[in-house]
């Protein structure tokens, strides 16, 4: 286990910013960067991954119970936060996994340096602009009702449905904070950094793109275009999964990542 986390509370302070962080399993290190819907929906996938690896899964600043430091408002800021975390925990040969919004953070980290990374797995990644200025690559989810959102984000909308009236208060607050934090980082430019695309060639570690085939928030063509910008990256689709494939198919997700780790 890591030396510099507080195992009792599951928290870690990085340059004065306290975040929640969970650790599961033993073996090669995985840094898991959660999607815009927070860490809780990723727990099943993290447990699957932890059967053969040491998974470190932080809750991003502004999400869950993690601090939201003043002045942090871009995914670029988040990428530097995680570069500090990698240094602080002295992680090496890391397999960095990011899903959706988390994959955007992972890409922003990897274009800066891959010194501590062995490989990269990005699922239903956002973060770049592919189409022309009048074509929306990513559906404006802030203009959708909750049922409309669930319909396009999941293969099975029930997988994402939550009854906030019966959930514990802390879960409801985490969901509200996740929505706010997503807006903070992804409102405009919408779910992308116009500068990122021209930097993707700098990613020189083995990279796997996973894509939940039923994602109607961001289509597969976007994913394939993104994948093509990273040298040597491989693209695999996942059936019966949408924008959060780790959540809808945690076993298949972990299998694909484990195989990729063995082969690369």
């Amino acid at each position: 286990m890591l030396q510099r986390t507080d195992a009792a509370s599951g928290s870690l302070a990085v340059e004065g910013t306290r975040i929640d962080l969970i650790e599961r399993g033993e073996g090669r290190p995985i840094l898991f960067l959660h999607a815009e819907n927070g860490l809780e929906p990723a727990i099943a996938a993290i447990d699957e991954l932890a059967k053969s690896a040491h998974v470190i899964a932080p809750t991003h600043p502004g999400f869950g119970r993690s601090d939201m430091p003043n002045g942090m408002r871009t995914v670029d800021d988040l990428s530097y936060f995680y570069l500090d975390l990698l240094d602080q925990l002295d992680l090496r040969d890391v397999t960095m996994i990011g899903v959706a919004f988390g994959a955007w953070i992972a890409a922003e980290i990897a274009v800066k340096t891959t010194a501590r990374l062995a490989r990269l797995a990005l699922a239903n990644a956002v973060g770049i602009k592919v189409g022309d200025r009048e074509t929306r690559d990513i559906v404006d989810v802030f203009a959708l009702t909750e049922p409309e959102y669930l319909e396009i984000a999941y293969c099975d909308p029930n997988a994402g449905r939550r009854d906030y009236r019966s959930l514990p208060e802390a879960h409801v607050l985490a969901a509200a904070r996740a929505r706010e934090a997503t807006a903070r980082f992804a409102w405009s430019p919408y779910f992308h950094n116009p500068r990122l695309k021209s930097r993707l060639h700098r990613i020189r570690v083995p990279t796997l793109f996973l894509w939940g085939a039923h994602d109607r928030m961001v289509g597969e063509a976007y994913g394939r275009a993104y994948c093509a910008m990273i040298p040597g990256a491989r693209f695999e689709t996942m059936e019966r999964a949408g924008h959060f494939p780790h959540q809808e198919q945690p076993g298949m997700f972990a299998d694909k990542v484990s195989r990729f780790m063995e082969e690369n």
């Binding site: 203009a143 906030y164 208060e169 409801v172 607050l173 807006a183 903070r184 409102w187």
Partner: protein
Amino acid sequence: MRVYQFSEQAYYPTWNDHSGSLRVILPNRKCDPRVAADLFHRYYDEYQACDDIGLDIMLNEHHQSATCMSSAVVVGLSVLARATHKARLLVLGYPIGHRPDPLRVAEELATIDVISRGRLDMGFIKGIPYEIAASNRNPVELMERFWEAHDFILKAMTTHDGTFNWEGEYFHYRQVNIWPRPWQQPHPPMWSTTGSTAQARMLGERGYVMATLGTGYGTRKIYDAYRKTYLAKFGRAPTADRFAYLGLVAVAKDKEEARRRGHLIAGYLRTSSIVHLPFRNPPGYLPAEDNARLMRGETPPRSFTKDGRTINMHAAAMEDLIDAGILFCGTPDEVYGQIVAFCEHCGGMGNLLMMGHGGELTHAQTIDNLTLFAAEVLPRLKTYRQPDAEAAAAGVAA
């Protein structure tokens, strides 16, 4: 008391022709520019009439909406700065947290102040949630941007010895030196709006005129929050002129006609919240804790009647609106009595923002409404003695 006439300048011809949203997404092909022109000229005529009969004028702006055609409030201010001569011109308000360029705001408002020869009242507001979709400004940190824009605009209006530098969190300028500078010194009077005691406390510390809308007989606690911080900061109680309240006003010689007018003006209330659901509460507009409570189904009531009942002002019956002090309606005597009773509840309220036109009230009805009010209610409100300010604040000082 001062009374400011206000109209949302609605494009009401489409009010029965929409698909669940009068704002943001209602296609503008439903707006006939010829009809819009007629309406604008009519609304400006009504505002000009106010100038002749002793009423002041309030303007606002909303965006992408059939409920309010005034999408660039500086246009209406510009027209009226030239076309009127006596009325004060209150902008309530200017949504400065949405503006990419507060230097432009400072220039616009200073110019309006000069052209009107010092008749501008300057209200800065957060803006309702539906404005976010139109401006595309991040709802997170909206108020941080608001306060930086506020600080910048006041500095631009009060710096007279050459350029200054501004490298803030959100706005960057190196050679700021606006021409013209405002007529009123050090700057036009500051106003803002709120529905919360937290914001009221901040406004009290600054001594700005604070306006509320739809708070009815729940207004006193918001005013008292203001009184408390004002008293702590300035060492004296805020007088009634620090408080403003937006109420619908329908007055007529007979009660039945007043009710008819009130019903038409209240069309504003019935339509103003017809907005596609996702635009009603963008993430970050409210604190996450408040959103968590909303997700759990806990919706705090906003409008209260005199006897403590809560009402939904967007769907309430006329009598409930009157009981809540949201609509002042009746003969001149009745309306005067209702307004005075409300002032007494507030512990003093010195600026009535009077929605004397709303929705489908015709031009003739509007002119009659305003004229009758100005002739038979306004003179009595001018001489009405407000509750003692120190006594009103005594209860909150402890």
